[in-house]
């Protein structure tokens, strides 16, 4: 495999509702910042790939217009996935492996504010047997959370600790939406949203975007003093039918992690894309991370959850931390679908 690294990451200040700009206007400064960080223009970019969904834009072919955010003239080599931007990064990483280009730009975005994201995401479900019942994301996560609690591997206090840590970590993240220093006891004292879910088990509804630049070999070394090398990256999917899965574990995370080389261990921290508190514990256990590995120093998706970008942001946050010297080896993950159905695992490493 060719050595490929994340050399630049930029993100928007995540907000509940980005009312003063459309998607292109939201993306443009972020794409610009990602390129400026490494001092390149689009002429150095050999491939561009983005991730987004028409269902949150409320318009077919929505990504066609947001392509304007990179200024694709002269024409560029470009593709788009209807997936989280982490999978756009995977497609770009594959392109770099072929060896014909050295630099790729990835971006992802969404605005959840114009609609009702809980209801929109029900449209991901089996249209014949499940979607007609409109089970929303929190209801589905509730089933998973209940299964985890009933299995005896986690307590409500464990869930509250995940939320408390995420909010406290987010205090140091200027881009985060939801921050705070509530204690586990404070959180547990809050009323239930719907048993077993508290509001703090759930991610904040977020508008936002992110952009990443990846580069290969010497070009990565030229563009960054300390590139975050992708030592392994893999993704797997499971059945969507909840009745066919053990919701207390994530087989796809474990398999992708194994393929990405997680078993070698030695991680200084992890950025896990887990929109609900129970999912962070499940992902952590499925990756075999022990209690000494700090999870989500950025605050994670529980602090800012721009759908379609939140996975890419985990990879970008992990890479930035490595490039700044705040750790040398990290896991970053992305998830998609109900109850951790599809997962991507990336192992990143600095040169230290």
């Amino acid at each position: 495999m060719r050595d490929v690294a994340i050399v630049s990451f930029a993100q928007s200040k995540h907000v509940r509702a980005q009312t003063d700009s459309n998607e292109v206007e939201m993306l443009m400064p972020v794409v610009r910042e990602a390129l400026d960080n490494v001092g390149i223009g689009m002429d150095r970019v050999g491939f561009t790939c983005s991730g987004s969904t028409d269902y949150l834009s409320g318009q077919a072919f929505s990504f066609v217009m947001t392509l304007d955010s990179v200024g694709p003239w002269p024409p560029i080599s470009e593709s788009h996935v209807e997936m989280d931007g982490a999978w756009a990064l995977y497609e770009a990483w594959v392109k770099l492996q072929i060896g014909e280009i050295d630099v790729a730009l990835i971006y992802a975005y969404s605005k959840s504010s114009p609609g009702n994201v809980r209801e929109v995401l029900t449209r991901q479900l089996d249209p014949y047997f499940v979607a007609p019942l409109w089970p929303d994301t929190i209801a589905m996560a509730g089933l998973q959370t209940r299964a985890l609690l009933d299995s005896g591997t986690a307590t409500p206090a464990d869930l509250a600790a995940v939320a408390a840590t995420a909010r406290r970590n987010a205090l140091a993240n200027p881009y985060a939406l939801l921050t705070g220093d509530a204690s586990v006891e404070d959180l547990l004292a809050q009323p239930m949203l719907a048993d077993p879910m508290h509001v703090w088990d759930c991610p904040p509804i977020t508008d936002g975007c992110a952009a990443v630049v990846i580069a290969a070999d010497d070009v990565a070394r030229e563009l960054s003093k300390n590139p975050a090398w992708i030592r392994g990256i893999d993704h797997r999917i499971e059945s969507q039918a909840l009745g066919l899965r053990d919701l207390t574990t994530s087989v796809s995370t474990a398999t992708a992690g194994s393929k990405a080389g997680v078993s070698a261990g030695g991680f200084d921290f992890a950025e896990l894309h887990a929109p609900f508190t129970a999912q962070e514990l499940i992902a952590r256990n499925s990756l075999g991370l022990d209690a000494s590995v700090p999870i989500n120093p950025s605050g994670g998706a529980l602090s800012a959850n721009p759908v379609m970008a939140a996975g890419l942001i985990r990879l970008g946050e992990a890479a930035s931390r490595i490039s700044r010297g705040e750790g040398n080896r990290a896991i970053a993950t992305a998830t998609s679908g109900p109850c951790l159905q599809q997962n991507l695992v990336c192992v990143l490493e600095g040169s230290a």
Binding site: F61, W73, S77, V81, M83, Q97, I237
Partner: protein
């Protein structure tokens, strides 16, 4: 690292119809995928990864449908990627699948593209609001009609050229058992007399709205001879994109199209495009796009593409047959239409196109475009392994 060889060893498609009410979405994609696996002499367990593509999710009303289709695609426990690049998506999806093999990451990749347009009214999904412009068009034809008019004015092409293309493609489709339209009684007069939908585009010069799917198995060299037939080798592959709204762009022959063609033919080592390519499967949703793309792809000089239509060069017995399958004008499940072009090109060089086979085809171009004629995907496939 260098680009490893990749080959198409299995190809399948559904019977395309306006409504495939006999199958679910899962049933539709499995029909194509199982035919491709059978053609490749493989089963689901042989497949390392799956790449699926389709056009907007609103067409079926399912957001990111690959998630619920994971079981049907045999993808559980495997990597599954979902591509969406507008009308070119079927082509782009095949190219992403090929890149997994070219890079050495996987050995055997299944790629599938579909659309089940009967689940919704696609025309309105294709009536995109343009920023700073009044909403004056309904359907893609309304958007493309001025581009076609501009081509006619520039080239001086006579009005009947579009009719000739439509007649050719509709009659070719009668030789393709999977094609949606089988208009055995199509005549020049009937097409010329059909209702004008978006001047200068007549009803019979327009693609249908179809339910359908296409699938291919793409492998590395070690697996290239596992199929029932010799493989089609990928000689070149390219994608280009440009903005929708940009005053400097030429919508008749977009720069992205010309640069994509130069890239793909360059990779394939093709110098004289018209002489060296034996057959073209071109994305022609409105008849006039055949002469327009003939010029943009460099098969004809600027302003002269329509002459190739008029003198019969693009007929099945011409020197550059275009769309012997009947093309998009006869079958249009939008998300799959690009992959059908790519697959039909590969079928030609494998000699498996049946009644619409071009004898002796050794090198073929698969072509797709999308958006406001701004997204391009192309591959050149050949019967011989690339040098």
């Amino acid at each position: 690292m260098s680009k490893l060889p990749a080959a198409i060893v299995g190809i399948g498609q559904t019977k395309h119809m306006s409504t495939r009410g006999d199958v679910s979405i899962a049933g539709l994609i499995r029909e194509a995928a199982l035919r491709a696996l059978d053609d490749a002499n493989m089963t689901w367990s042989d497949i390392d990864a799956v790449v699926i593509g389709k056009a907007p999710d609103f067409f079926e009303g399912v957001m990111m449908p690959e998630l619920f289709l994971a079981d049907a695609l045999g993808a559980v426990g495997k990597p599954l990627l979902r591509v969406h690049t507008a009308g070119s998506v079927g082509g782009s999806t095949a190219l992403v699948a090929a890149s997994l093999v070219h890079s050495g990451i996987h050995e055997r990749v299944l790629t599938v593209a579909f659309e089940k347009q009967s689940e919704s009214e696609a025309m309105w999904a294709l009536s995109m609001p343009m920023p700073f412009a009044p909403p004056t068009h309904a359907g893609a034809g309304g958007y493309f009609a001025p581009h076609i008019r501009s081509y006619m004015r520039r080239s001086g092409a006579p009005d009947h050229i579009g009719v000739l293309v439509a007649l050719k493609d509709r009659l070719n489709a009668c030789k393709n058992q999977y094609a949606h339209l089988h208009e055995t009684d199509a005549t020049f007069e009937k097409i010329a007399d059909s209702v004008m939908l978006w001047d200068p585009i007549r009803y019979s010069e327009t693609c249908p709205s179809s339910d359908g799917a296409a699938a291919m198995v793409i492998t590395n060299e070690a697996n290239a001879n596992r199929g029932k037939l010799a493989p089609a080798w990928i000689h070149g592959s390219a994608m280009r994109s440009e903005p929708t709204m940009f005053a400097g762009r030429d919508v008749v022959s977009p720069r992205g199209s010309r640069e994509c063609a130069a890239d793909v033919f360059g990779q394939a080592g093709i110098v004289d495009r018209r002489a060296e390519i034996d057959v073209v499967e071109m994305y022609v949703p409105f008849s006039w796009y055949e002469p327009m793309w003939l010029e943009s792809l460099g098969f004809a000089e600027e302003g002269k593409g329509w002459m190739m239509v008029e003198d019969g060069s693009t007929q099945m017995d011409g020197d550059l047959p275009v769309n012997p399958s009947g093309g998009v004008l006869s079958t249009n499940p939008i998300g799959a239409s690009g992959m059908l072009r790519f697959a039909e090109a590969a079928m030609q060089v494998r000699g498996q196109a049946g009644e619409h086979q071009i004898d002796g085809a050794r090198k073929a171009l698969g072509h797709a475009y999308g958006g406001g004629a701004q997204f391009f995907a192309m591959w050149v496939v050949g019967a011989d392994k690339p040098a």
